[in-house]
Each structure stands twice: as C-alpha cells, then as structure tokens.
C-alpha cells in the first residue's frame, strides 16, 4: 500500500472543515515525524531501566554520553553536509589524519599540535568541497577518494604505528570533567548548540538549507553556492578532526589504523534517524543528537545483555528501519 492516508477515503469529512483538521496527536503522522526519535530514546531508556541491571546510574549514563560524544560531533558536521544534499564518506579518514598528526607535533606543544590536527580536518574538507563545488563531482564519489586515500595517508604519516600518548594536557582532555560533566560531553553539547544557532539564525545556515532545497534557484538568487558548499565540507572535516582528537585523548593512544572506521555510517545513521532527509533542504540538529544517542543506547543495550554479534547486527538493522519508517514523510495524496 502506498502511504495510506490517515483519513480513509470516502470517510465523511465535515463539510465546512476547520482549517487544521483536529486529530489526536497519537494519530497524526506529522507528530511522529517530529518527535519519533525522542520517543524512541525515551522508550529505550525506559526499557533499560526496567530490564537492564545498573542502567540508570550516573556512572553508566555518563559512560554512554562520553562514548557518543565523538559520534555526535561528526554527525553534526554530517548533518550540515546532508542539508546541502551531499554526503561525506571521508569523516573517518579525517579522524585518523588528526589522530596521526597529534603525536608528531606534540613535541612543539599541545596547542600547535591541536591546531595542526584540526587544520588537517579542514584541509580534507577543503579538498572534498572543491571537488564537489568546483569540479562538480557527486558528493559520494568526491568524498570516496579521501575515504580510501585519507586513511592511507594517515598511516603513512604514522608509519603504520599506533603511538601511545603521554602528554598529560592532551590526556586530561579525555578524562577531565567540569562540574561532574566530562569535558568531551560539554564540547559536544556546546557544538550542538552552536550548530543549531548556525542553522537557524545565520545567513550561512539558511543558505545551506536553500542550496540543498533547490540548487538552481540558489544560484540564480545570487547565493555564493560554491563558497557555502566548500565551507560546509570544511566544517564537516574540522568537526571530524575534533572528534578524532577527543577520541585519541580518551584512548590515550593515536591509532590511525582503526580510529573512526565505519564512522561515516554511524554519523549518517544518526542524522537520518534524527529526521534530516537525505534529499537535503533541511537540517535537524537536535534530532541528529537524539539519533546518535538512540543508536548508542541500542549498542549499549546489546552489549550489556551480551547478545552475539549476529543478533546485535540484526537488531540494529531492525531498529534503524523502524525509526525511519515511523518518522517517514507521508505524502498526502
């Protein structure tokens, strides 16, 4: 059946119908589309509270937040890219590049090393952005190149080696907390707020959405399309690098060979489960955060109940489909 309308055809509609059809929220598809993720997060929390031992403890919840923070950061950048009707497969490689650079430059001090690592992310973004906006490549292919090559480059830089990090300042980035909240989580939350503001209130943010909504119209309306596109990919790359730095600090080691593998899929899943359409033209920041949290809680649940990998993967697949199905855009017809 194609998108059965909530009101059955032929059902008697009151002749002078009020402009907004009165429908209880629980029967309104728009409601699920808007709030589905949050409900799912709540449901999973509730489920765990009842079923899983020691779930609703501060320690455990903190652990979940700390683990999800890098994914959130990457997903925020990804959400912007997806808003322009693009996608960035190279985020995992950008993380690896940042991680590989850190130990090489920590000798010059923490700040130079951090700046360099972030810059590496920005440069990957720049390359992607130029390939997409100037060369006119399709985003998947444009970023596929760095997906393949970026990690290789990171490994070349690191000589294929995992390196232990001993710089205490960098390490404290991974472990320190402020008022009981880990710094990693604070950074992710701050970034989410910043991106929400960017999307809702800045020229740049609105231009992102317009470009994703109708590229030709944006061009004719004089929007700096190439600049905005390049900027979006640079942001995404930089966010990925930041996530790479934080993950490295937490791991206490720079591990370019495995850091951020499959991150692109996690991030895209978070964005899409969070209600941002892959067809561009809208960005849901809070939804993206909720999407990432949902997938994190799901992974945690599966691990805590010691389900084998096979079951875990099938369960994840089912949840993704269910989440997207509930939140799907129902075309009225």
């Amino acid at each position: 059946m194609t998108q059965a309308p909530a009101t059955a055809p032929g059902a008697a509609a009151p002749a002078p119908a009020p402009p907004a059809p009165a429908r209880p929220w629980y029967r309104d598809p728009a409601w699920y589309q808007a709030y589905g993720v949050y409900v799912a997060v709540g449901a999973l929390l509730l489920f765990n509270a009842l079923i899983t031992d020691r779930f609703l403890t501060t320690d455990n919840l903190t652990t979940q937040l700390v683990q999800v923070a890098p994914i959130v950061i990457v997903a925020l950048g990804m959400a912007l890219v997806i808003g322009t009707e693009g996608v960035d497969l190279s985020v995992g490689s950008a993380m690896a590049l940042a991680a590989a650079l850190l130990p090489l430059y920590l000798g010059y001090g923490l700040v130079p090393a951090l700046v360099l690592a972030l810059l590496a992310g920005a440069v990957t973004g720049l390359v992607n952005g130029v390939l997409v906006s100037v060369a006119g490549l399709q985003p998947i292919v444009a970023t596929l190149a760095l997906f393949v090559g970026g990690r290789g480059l990171a490994l070349v830089l690191a000589d294929g080696q995992l390196k232990q990090i001993i710089n205490p300042d960098l390490l404290s980035l991974g472990t320190a907390s402020l008022l009981g909240v880990p710094v990693v989580v604070l950074i992710a939350a701050g970034l989410a707020l910043a991106v929400a503001f960017l999307v809702a209130r800045t020229t740049f943010g609105r231009q992102i959405v317009a470009i994703g909504g109708n590229r030709k119209a944006a061009v004719l309306a004089g929007l700096p399309v190439k600049r905005v596109l390049t900027g979006v990919y640079i942001l995404c790359g930089t966010f990925a690098a930041l996530a790479g730095i934080l993950a490295t600090a937490r791991l206490t080691a720079s591990d370019p060979s495995s850091l951020g593998t499959l991150m692109e899929l996690s991030a895209i899943t978070a964005v899409v489960v969070g209600g941002t359409p892959l067809s561009g033209g809208s960005v849901r920041v809070l939804g993206t955060v909720a999407g990432a949290v949902l997938m994190q809680l799901l992974r945690a649940t599966l691990v805590k109940h010691d389900l084998p990998d096979s079951t875990a993967q099938i369960a994840q697949a089912a949840i993704i489909v269910a989440a997207v199905y509930v939140a799907r855009e129902r075309r009225s017809r």
């Binding site: 002749a15 317009a210 109708n214 119209a217």
Partner: protein, 526 residues
C-alpha cells in the same frame, strides 16, 4: 477542421463525473463538496483564482490525489483511481500544470514513455520511435530532433511535447491544466486546432486557463471554483465576461467593471534620458547573436519574439545566469566585468526566472524564507539573520502582493502556482533593484492577481525602476510596454516605440521572423 455544430456543445453523455468531492491538505481545504461533470465531445473550462482548487480537482480526477470525500464516476460507473497509471488505463490523459516530463530523457522517449513501439523481438524500435515522434511533433509545429534531451528545449516547446504525448494516446478524456501559459500565439493556434480535432472525435476536454479570450474561443461550458467550492457550471456562450470574473473573484460586477481587467494604466511612463542598463552585442554560440538593448529608468521595455527566439537567454545573460562568449553590459555607467548572479544583484539587477519550479522556488522552505532568500546578507548583521527585519519585509510584501498562504511559515511547495509566482516576485522586489527583468511574470496567474502584478509593474516603473518585460501574452506586452524589442534567432529583429507599439505592428514583425525554425543541432542545453 470545421468545428461541429455550435448548437450542441457538450450534449454527449457524461464521461467523467465528480460528485461531492472533498480534499484537505494540512491547514487547507483545497476542495469542499465539489461536483463536476464532463460530457463527451465538449470542451469544459475550469476557472477560478489562484489557489481556487483547479489543479487539485484535476489531480483528484486523474488519480494523483485520493479524495477525502465524494466519488468519481467514469461513464456512470463509480471508480477509484489508486494512481495516475489507472486513470490513464481508463482513458484519462492529462497535461499537468507544471510540465511533468523527464528532463534528461530524449524528446521521443518522453513522448512514448511506457508505450514504446517494439520490433519483432519485442524490443524497442528506436528508429521507428524517433521517426514517429518527429512526425507527431511536426503536426504540432515543433521541429526538433527527437533525440535531443528534453531539458535542452525551452519551456514552451516542452509544453508542446507534453501536449503531443497526452493527445497521441487514444484517450476518452484529455485534461489540460494551463497548457497555454508558456505558449506563443502561433502554438496556441496549433493547440486550438488540436482541441477541435479532439472535439470532433467526441473526446471530452477539460481546459484550465487564466486567459479569458481563450476560454471564449474554444470552450463550451464552464465551471467556476472559488476557495475550493463549486460556484457555477453552465454554458459559456452568453455568459458575460465581467460576470464570469466576478464569480471567480467573489466580488460584484460593478466593482470588477470599475477596476478593469488589465492592470496597466493607459498612458506610458516618463523614461529618463540616460539608460540605466545597456547591453551591447551579447553573444553566446548558437543562442544569442549580438543582442543589444538599452533600458531606461522608469520605462517598461518589452522583449518580443517567438518561442526559442532567445528572450529568456537574454534575460538570463543579463542576470549572470548564463555565461556569454562576448558582449558588454553597463549598469549606471559602470561596465560589469564578470557577470555572475551575485554581481548582477550587487549592480541592482533582479531577474524573475521563467521556470519557477526548477529555477525559482525552494519548495521545502517557508514563504518567509523564500522571500528573503536573496536578501539574506542585507537582513543580517555579522552573518546573523535578524528575524524582526525579516518579518517586516515579509509582512510588507505578503500584503502588497496579496500572497495567499496560511501563514508566512507555510511551505512554498504547498502554495498554488500563482501564489508561488508572487512569492518569487517578492523575493526580487525586496532587493530594491534598479533593473527588474521579468520573464513571463504573469504566467499562470489568475485575472485578479494578473491585474495586480501588471499594476505593480506600472507602479514600479513609475517609481523609476527600469523593467524588462518578457511575455508570451501579446496583449500584455502591447499594453504594458513603452517600447518593444523583437528578437529572432537570438538576434534583434526590430524595435517598436511610441505609437508604433500596437498589436498589428508587433504581429507583423513577429510574422517576418516566423518561418525559419532553427536547425535543431544548434541548440544548446541550458
């Protein structure tokens, strides 16, 4: 082809009926208890203001939307079309308002999509398909290489292709939603000829148009919708034009009569001596061939020409949407070095594009955001958009252009065609341009709004704006423009000024330029 006896319009049996049909969209009642019947061999006009529900009714009739209430009957039998496919199977063929063909596919493939000619091996016979497409289109006065991708054709030509497709199936009912909105007089004549043939074959035709004179020329009966409600159905003959308009607008006759139907003032404008914008020898291979023109503050310059004569290209080139091989554009004495859309806007040039669906609206964004899109940098400080300033601008323009939306936050994609056009106009006006390039500004706009827009054009010119007006509506061009430049095959073919701006004079220049359809090879994707 001789029209059948005028005495028996629509006397045939009802082929397609809608009884008490209702359709709601979130926040809007698009159709409310509308009944409609269509008889074999009649041409049935469907009229109403923008947003009255004409397109929605058509979509209900053809299986795109499912009605919330009421039922459809095909030859007396109740039917429920689940999708357009089923309606087409049942012999209902439709040309939708926005050209709905596949841009990347060739003309021939578009014409025959879904019913391609096969050879003995049951495989598509491309030579035959191309041949048949070419012959078919030839009958519609369109001479294009059928292997050309559709998107390389102008909107008008695309419309003719859609027409050819819809008519070439053996349908019982042919529905046409604003088929002439981007057609030239010559094509309109072709279309009318086709409609006569359909009528002679006892096919029922639904015809939607905002052009009154067309309705009176070919339609037998008329149904008027207003705000989603059925207002009137009856023979068109003997129905006074003013009365029809008053039914559509819901205002009384006297009021309508007083306001008049076209919005242009009778007298011309006082143009400034020195031009604001001069274009010199605009050239682009195979599209433009040395177009020169000058635009003065406070005047409306008409740009005339046949389909594909390069009017849209000229406007696009001036607005930076099309790269030029050579030529120079000067605005207020300053030569524009590189024309990009941003540079053109910076220089005070605004262009309302011809194809509002593909090049204009951002359907997923709200009315507010669509209006302020180009003006964002001006409405923001340090990159942060001021919501208050936005709201002010949006409020002013929604009022001034009478944009009909449930709120500024409604998605533009949900508005009726005419209102979308107004939103776009607002987008460009809020930039406070010096030069306004209008490519078919009243395309698909209802009589009331059309008069408003025309009045607005007058007013803007009066305020000192330089306006370039491209219109396929000859009447509009004659009445609106102070001066008309006519293009032929991308080159200037003549100019009418002052008292010479008359319909016969224009038609004469156009006729001169008519008989040389450009070889298809020369065209260019745009």
């Amino acid at each position: 082809m001789a029209p059948p006896e005028a005495a028996t319009p629509g006397a045939g049996p009802p082929v397609l009926q809608a009884a008490g049909v209702g359709k709601r969209f979130p926040g809007v009642v698009a159709l409310d208890d509308v009944s409609f019947d269509l008889r074999a061999g009649e041409v049935h006009a469907l009229v109403g203001e923008n947003g009255a529900g004409k397109s929605t009714l058509i979509k209900v009739l053809t299986g795109v939307h499912r009605p919330d209430a009421g039922e459809l009957r095909l030859a007396g039998e109740p039917v429920r079309f689940q999708r357009p496919f089923e309606a087409q199977q049942a012999g209902v063929s439709t040309i939708y308002q926005e050209v709905n063909l596949v841009p990347l596919m060739s003309v021939a493939r578009n014409v025959f999509l879904g019913r391609e000619p096969r050879n003995r091996l049951r495989l598509i016979d491309f030579p035959r398909m191309n041949r048949e497409a070419a012959e078919l289109l030839d009958g519609f006065g369109v001479r294009v290489d059928p292997r050309r991708p559709l998107h390389t054709l102008g909107l008008g030509t695309q419309q003719m292709v859609a027409l050819a497709r819809a008519v070439s199936v053996q349908a019982r009912v042919v529905v046409m939603d604003e088929p002439t909105s981007s057609l030239e007089p010559r094509e309109v004549e072709t279309l009318f000829r086709v409609i006569e043939e359909l009528r002679a074959r006892d096919v029922a035709v639904v015809y939607v148009s905002h052009r009154m004179d067309e309705l009176y020329r070919i339609c037998d009966r008329v149904t008027v919708l207003r705000d989603g409600r059925h207002i009137h159905t009856g023979p068109l003959k003997g129905l006074e034009r003013m009365r029809l308009v008053s039914m559509m607008l819901g205002r009384d006759m006297a009021e309508v009569r007083r306001d008049g139907v076209t919005g242009f003032a009778a007298d011309g404008h006082d143009a400034a001596r020195t031009p604001v914008l001069t274009a010199d020898g605009l050239t682009r291979r195979h599209q433009l061939d040395g177009v020169s023109l000058s635009l003065h503050a406070g005047e409306v310059l008409g740009l005339g020409g046949l389909l594909g004569s390069g009017r849209s290209e000229t406007a696009k080139a001036l607005a930076g949407g099309l790269a030029l091989d050579s030529g120079e554009v000067t605005v207020a004495g300053k030569v524009l070095r590189r024309i990009t859309p941003a540079a053109a806007i910076e220089a005070g040039i605004s262009m309302l594009p011809e194809d509002r669906k593909a090049e204009g609206i951002v359907p997923g964004l709200s009315v507010r955001e669509n209006i302020v899109l180009a003006a964002l940098p001006r409405l923001s400080r340090a990159g942060i958009v001021s919501r208050a300033r936005q709201d002010r601008v949006v409020e002013i323009f929604m009022k001034r252009l009478r944009i009909k939306a449930s709120s500024p936050e409604q998605k533009v994609g949900e508005l009726s065609g005419g209102n979308q056009q107004k939103v776009l106009l607002a987008r460009w006006l809020c930039l406070e341009p010096r030069v306004l390039l209008l490519d078919e500004p009243t395309r698909g706009i209802d009589v009331g709004a059309k008069a408003e827009v025309q009045g607005l054009i007058d007013e803007l010119a009066g305020e000192g704006l330089a306006v370039l007006l491209i219109s396929s509506d000859i009447e509009e061009l004659i009445e609106g423009a102070d001066r008309i430049v006519v293009l032929r095959s991308g080159a200037p073919a003549g100019e009418l000024a002052g008292d010479a701006v008359t319909e016969p004079a224009l038609l004469e220049v156009l006729a001169d330029s008519a008989p040389t359809p450009r070889p298809a090879e020369e065209a260019e994707p745009r």
